[in-house]
Amino acid sequence: MLVKDVMHGPVISVGPEWTLEDAYKLLLERGIRHLPVVADGRLVGIITDRDIRLATSHLNPQGPCPGCTQVGDVMTKDVITSHPLDPVEEAARVMRERKIGSLPVLEDGRLVGIVTGIDLLDALLKLTGVTEPSGRLEVRLPDRVGELARLTGFLAGRGVNIHSLLSYPEDGDRVRAVVRVNTLETHLLAEGLRQEGFDVLWPPKKPW
């Protein structure tokens, strides 16, 4: 999954000469939180609803003046950006490490999109969510060559289609695989997997 698959464009942006008041109105109207700032077709900064609220707070030593302060005075100038072909996980890592809420997406210096935390949550939902009627299997695998293939091979042998497969490392050289399969009969699959020596975490074995 790449940034271009989750980003939004065309981007709603403002110029540095806009007043904070106008920029804030635009944020409210469009129901967004981040505004890239563009001058002469180039990205020169980014301003968020939080920047505007802080700049116009009564606690601001200069006193608030939303109608006379310009976006260019308040915006963040060294913008961290992304590229459409960056992997989504890289965008997520940058946003997490820099503690920022969005990344403008540039291609050949042109602003082509924006990725926000909400887009990354959508990506997570797509990766983990239910898009087809399906049941869930959870299997703990040894972290070594061929184990996942053994699991998917078993499912293929049973004529079961895999709708989604998620795996993540656990402590102690093990990998958790969460598989959504197109069947009601996950208990039967679990039983077959256990007979083949798999450590099936869900569905559980019933003691009666």
Partner: protein, 375 residues
């Protein structure tokens, strides 16, 4: 009034398939052995046009072709020819026979009948454009559509352990249909949907209710949330008729799912549903069967339904002759009494946590749909 015909058993997905016609054979033979069987009404099969009242032409065309044994390249795209819903010769007609029974129930209700028990059907996973989860055609939705087209407001109650997704999606934007599904959480179990936040769209907003329950939910907790939710929703919606999918797979013996109801909970549920029908739906109620894959449990649950439906007193033990004949045929022991024995499974260590989570889910659901339902 009871609706049934032998041809229901033609809906046969194969010798090892859990949705087995043996369930009906066992149930009717038990009711006969108990001496309570009355000649049921034999319904006509549903027509192609009636099926098309809820399904797409392209799905029906594929079911018909597969039924005749023709090769169809994109069957799987329509949920057919899969391990769960394999094709078999004559499946179109077999499915239409089941639809016909539930549809006949709707017609009888419209003709003034109060209580109808359809001893089959309940194929709640079938969708507009797709067969799914053992279900080819959605008999429930065909019947519901017949009722709403006659101007009735329909409340659909689904106690199958799986989410009633097909019925929910088919009526998702309809104002005159309330769907109410209690099921094991889709976090783990098929079909994966049925979250509290699926509440309907457009005119149907707030009229599609889902109560996903924790795996290993027991009688007490199930009844607690059922008794809090169902009368509340019915009182607010004021239906003209109640359609009930009475799947028996929330039973603790069911091999496909993880809820732990006993026959005692089912007896209470069936009595409550009849009370609710009287109190909120003019006494009009149409029951169908549904899932239920432990032969031992499903047959006893539906025998209970038959007795409660007719107001018969409950037998304690099942006829010895019937039991020994079926034990010989199935090669395994059967519970000798109508009800389960007391404390039939070991204590569940997480019980208080499960109860708490179910209460929280109920609270979230009522907060979400309350503003829509109560106006």
């Amino acid at each position: 009034m009871v609706i049934y015909r032998e041809e229901y058993r033609l809906y046969d997905l194969g010798p090892h398939h859990p949705f087995s016609p043996v369930r009906l054979e066992m149930l009717t033979s038990l009711l006969k052995a108990l001496g309570v069987w009355q000649e049921p009404l034999a319904p006509p099969e549903a027509t192609r046009e009636e099926v098309l009242s809820v399904h797409s032409e392209r799905l029906v065309r594929r079911v018909e072709a597969a039924s005749r044994g023709e090769k169809v390249s994109d069957l799987e795209h329509y949920g057919l020819g899969t391990g769960d819903t394999p094709v078999f010769p004559g499946m179109d007609q077999a499915a239409r026979v089941l639809v016909g029974g539930t549809l006949e129930g709707a017609r009888r209700i419209l003709a003034g009948e109060k209580r109808v028990l359809q001893l089959g059907g309940g194929l709640h996973h079938a969708q507009y454009d797709r067969a799914s989860g053992f279900c080819v055609y959605n008999d429930l939705s065909v019947a519901i559509r017949r009722l709403t087209r006659a101007g009735l407001r329909v409340a659909y109650l689904d106690i199958d352990v799986h989410h009633g997704d097909g019925v929910q999606w088919l009526h998702y934007e309809e104002k005159e249909v309330l769907t109410l599904s209690l099921h094991e959480s889709g976090r783990y179990l098929f079909p994966g949907t049925g979250h509290v936040h699926e509440i309907g769209k457009g005119g149907g907003a707030g009229r599609k209710l889902n109560l996903p329950l924790e795996p290993f939910t027991e009688d007490e907790s199930y009844l607690e949330v059922f008794e809090a939710l169902v009368p509340w929703a019915l009182a607010a919606f004021r239906p003209d008729v109640l359609v009930v999918q009475a799947g028996a797979d929330a039973h603790f013996l069911d091999p496909l799912a993880d809820l732990l109801l006993t026959t005692r909970a089912y007896e209470r549920l069936f009595r409550l549903v009849l009370q609710y029908a009287e109190a909120y739906a003019g006494g009009r109620v149409l029951f169908t069967l549904g899932g239920g894959y432990s032969l031992d449990a499903a047959v006893r649950v539906w025998a209970l339904l038959y007795h409660v439906f007719h107001g018969l007193s409950l037998p304690e033990r099942l006829p010895e002759g019937w039991r020994s004949a079926w034990e010989a045929r199935l090669g395994k022991p059967l519970t000798p009494t109508l009800h389960d024995p007391r404390a039939p499974y070991p204590e569940i260590p997480r019980k208080p946590e499960i109860e708490k989570r179910n209460r929280l889910t109920l609270q979230r659901l009522t907060e979400l749909v309350g503003p829509h339902l109560l106006h």
